[in-house]
């Protein structure tokens, strides 16, 4: 029962943050995950990426488009070259992980409050019964 419990956290992300759905869908593809990892290291043009992943320009454009719509990648056209880099959404989500754990624990402890209230009530009832 660790503080960082990826299983529970993932459920929570799913439960509380529907906006992540698009990101998860975008990442449900091994090439797109590779592209994102690559862009995490350095910016690259679509042509570079197509070469690196041994893919047609059209195919790579499609993948980058999906990542872009999910907010995971941003692209910028400079002259004739479209440069891709990791999007702000991705970074934000990555940075926000500690806050997500805080939320998870807040929810857990709110439930614990209920259990504790029940226990206190039971003690009070028992005490009253004994006194009566």
């Amino acid at each position: 029962m660790p503080i960082i419990d990826v299983y529970t956290l993932n459920h929570m992300v799913q439960y509380t943050n529907a906006t992540l759905d698009a990101s998860f869908a975008a990442l449900a593809d091994v090439t797109r995950r590779g592209v994102l990892e690559q862009l995490g290291r350095a910016e690259a043009s679509i042509t570079d990426l197509a070469k690196k992943f041994n893919m047609t320009l059209t195919g790579m454009k499609k993948h980058v488009g999906i990542l872009e719509r999910a907010g995971l990648v941003i692209t910028e056209k400079v002259g004739r070259v479209r440069t891709c880099k990791v999007g702000p959404h991705q970074l934000e989500e990555a940075m926000a992980w500690l806050e997500k754990y805080r939320q998870l624990w807040a929810v857990r402890f709110d439930e614990l409050d209920k259990v504790i209230e029940d226990l206190k009530q039971r003690e009070n009832d028992d005490g009253r019964r004994k006194r009566e």
Binding site: M1, R33, L36, E37, A94, E111
Partner: protein, 165 residues
């Protein structure tokens, strides 16, 4: 026995804090409106533990809770999808302190200490988790900001749970 019960009076919710206090440590704190022995009881009795740990308001439930809460005893939690968390209690001092290992991840698992400090009928709960190394804690989540790889690991697991539905 329901007569006269003040079921409408809701206690004020206390703030939960989570902080990374060093390269290897995380600390969670929260105050409860009850004496330490009650908070300790809710933490150490399997049927009670099961009610809040989920958390069920998020649609998560534990299918099995085995807890032998004494120094040297073991525990095993299984979520409804079969995922298990297990370890050993290194120290159990009712009603103020529990220390346990987290062995599901192998040797790099953290050690968790929870203390219950009673003051004026309220209890301050401090949950402290110490990882064997900075790398182990980073791998557990913190590193996501620095290394995207860790985030992908989490997403992979998330996708597995999604596809299992």
């Amino acid at each position: 026995m329901a007569a006269g019960r003040e079921s409408e009076s809701k206690p004020m919710k206390h703030r939960t804090t989570v902080e990374r206090t060093s390269d290897r440590e995380l600390v969670v704190t929260r105050t409860f409106d009850a004496p330490a022995r009650i908070v300790f009881e809710a933490w150490t009795k399997p049927d009670l533990f099961k009610q809040w740990w989920g958390p069920k308001s998020m649609g998560i439930s534990l299918s099995s809770v085995e807890m032998d809460v004494r120094t040297g005893g073991g525990y095993r939690l299984v979520f409804s999808n079969g995922m298990a968390f297990f370890g050993k209690y290194i120290e159990v001092t009712p009603p103020s302190r529990i220390v346990w290992t987290n062995d599901e991840g192998g040797e790099a698992g953290p050690v968790t200490t929870v203390t219950f400090e009673e003051k004026g009928g309220k209890t301050l709960l401090v949950m402290h988790e110490l990882y064997p190394s900075k790398e182990a804690l980073d791998a557990a989540g913190t590193g996501a900001a620095e290394g995207m790889g860790e985030l992908f690991g989490q997403l992979d697991e998330f996708l597995v749970t999604l596809s299992a539905r």
